[in-house]
């Protein structure tokens, strides 16, 4: 692997959409031999996986298997220690790139919603379009209302996040990611903090997003959801991709003993 010659302009501004975007067959997101360690603890060890356009890939695995860290690396919230992550054919792990511009192209939804408590729902949605995309307020609000409509929360636009249920907050968080029109949506155990009766509304929304063609990479503990919605399932164990394949195969007929053991434990 020889170091690619850097374009000195990349540090200032992202190039227009890379050529590879037009190549529909190439993966939208390609994680190649990524390594990430916190001190002596190797969280990701030589992880590779591809996510193709309009596909949904589910990461499963025990707590600490590296699911969240992988998502955080893809969103450049963590720097990888080695390996490459390509988005639309562009190496986003290149330190010359403006990481903020890359993140603006990627949607991220967190386990604990991470809504801004001091802003109303509508302002949570318009903040990034206005500051990052320089969209005028009126237009940003129009788009935000459309996004809220899509997640079924148009009537909550003027509420503060504290006054919403967990499921509603998470749907707002998804809408907040969607208004930026991301190339890919990363979802980090988005139903883990929810009461069981609220899980359904969020999962229904994600299934709806899949139908509309959204590309998603998600970490989840909901095996039933992974089976129904994911095209591919990736089982992480000790920082490595232990088994991957079509969802029905990995979840229905796992080939590796550790995968079987994990599935036995989570499905009881």
């Amino acid at each position: 692997m020889s170091p690619r010659l850097p374009d000195p302009r990349l540090g200032r501004r992202l190039p227009a959409v890379p050529d590879a975007v037009r190549d529909e067959a190439a993966p939208l997101l390609s994680v190649q031999t990524v390594r990430k360690a916190f001190g002596a603890h190797v969280v990701l060890d030589d992880v590779s996986l591809d996510v193709h356009r309009h596909r949904v890939v589910a990461l499963i695995g025990a707590s600490g298997s590296g699911k969240s860290t992988l998502l955080r690396c893809v969103d450049l919230l963590e720097d990888v220690d080695d390996g490459v992550i390509e988005l639309e054919g562009q190496d986003i792990t290149d330190p010359r790139l403006d990481a903020d511009a890359v993140r603006a192209r990627i949607g991220m939804v967190f386990q604990a919603y991470n809504l801004f408590p001091h802003l109303r729902v509508l302002d949570n949605l318009t903040l990034a379009p206005r500051l990052v995309r320089r969209v005028p307020r009126a237009e940003a609000e129009e788009r935000a209302r459309a996004a809220l409509e899509r997640v079924g929360l148009a009537r909550k636009a003027a509420s503060f996040p504290d006054h919403l249920s967990g499921g509603e907050q998470q749907r707002v968080a998804i809408a907040r990611a969607l208004v930026m029109e991301p190339s890919i949506l990363l979802l980090d155990e988005v139903t883990s903090a929810l009461d069981p009766e609220l899980v359904g509304e969020v999962l229904d929304l994600l299934a709806d997003l899949k139908t509309s063609g959204m590309t998603m990479l998600l970490a989840t503990h909901e095996m039933g959801f992974a089976r129904d919605v994911a095209d591919e399932v990736c089982f992480l164990h000790a920082g490595q991709v232990h088994e991957r394949g079509p969802a029905h195969q990995v979840l229905g007929d796992p080939q590796r003993e550790r995968t079987r053991e994990f599935l036995r434990r989570v499905t009881g």
Partner: protein, 301 residues
Amino acid sequence: MTTDPTTADDPAALVWQPSARQRERDAYRRGRTRRSFAVAALSTVALTAVAVLGLVSSPGWPRVKASFFDPEVARASLPAVLDGLWLNVRVMAVSAVVILVVALLLALARTLPGPVFFPVRALATAYVDVFRGLPLILVLLLVGFGLPGLRLTGVPTSAVVLGGLALVLTYSAYVAEVFRAGIESVHPSQVAAARALGLSRGQSLRYVVLPQAVRRVVPPLLNDLVALSKDSGLISILGAIDAVRAAQIETARYANFTPYVVAGVLFVALTIPLTRLTDALARRSGWLGAQSAAMGGGAAR
């Protein structure tokens, strides 16, 4: 995120070598760091040079230098100013302890529940309102000259004691609010958990709320301590011979302002360790963005 102890001993983890691409990235990052460092160093030097040049080249500089930065006078006045500073340190240390106790009592009084404690709450609130609003210098003058004027038996007449009393009166009001903010920042669920275990209200406060509250407000408390160490110089207006007063006397003796500069340097030297301690404590409790990523921290770049 749980730590898997086996990975640390994993031979694969130990033999890992960065790829050529990663080495190139690391080299680029090191280059950027060096560049930022060079820019910062250069701009600091340039700014300092401009400031010094501007000072030295001003028309009155020779006169100012002779009357504010005379090494002879500095050396001669140092012992007297140091003696005075020792008084500041003692006043500060004693008042700080009294302030902490009084302030904690005030903060607790303001959190007492129920109509029974209304007078206590109201008194504490009124106290804080009054002494946070009064300028310290007025409190010093009123206490320093008014209290002895009453001619009550047992009332001290020493400028040091009266000055310390004024400091305590004013600072207790400030520090009480710091404590109260800390107490109120502890989530109600902590009290619920303590009460659910059968602890009384007082026990919950003493063993669950206060330990968390105090830990949280240590940096702002140290900030107030730094302010106190400087304000202890104000007791000089009552006639106590502290560092400021000593510098004043020396200034009069040598007809030269250098002793004031000496006192200033000594006060700064006194507060710098306190400020560094505040920084260190703040870092240890994860402020200033020092949160680890495992806790869901911010972005790496």
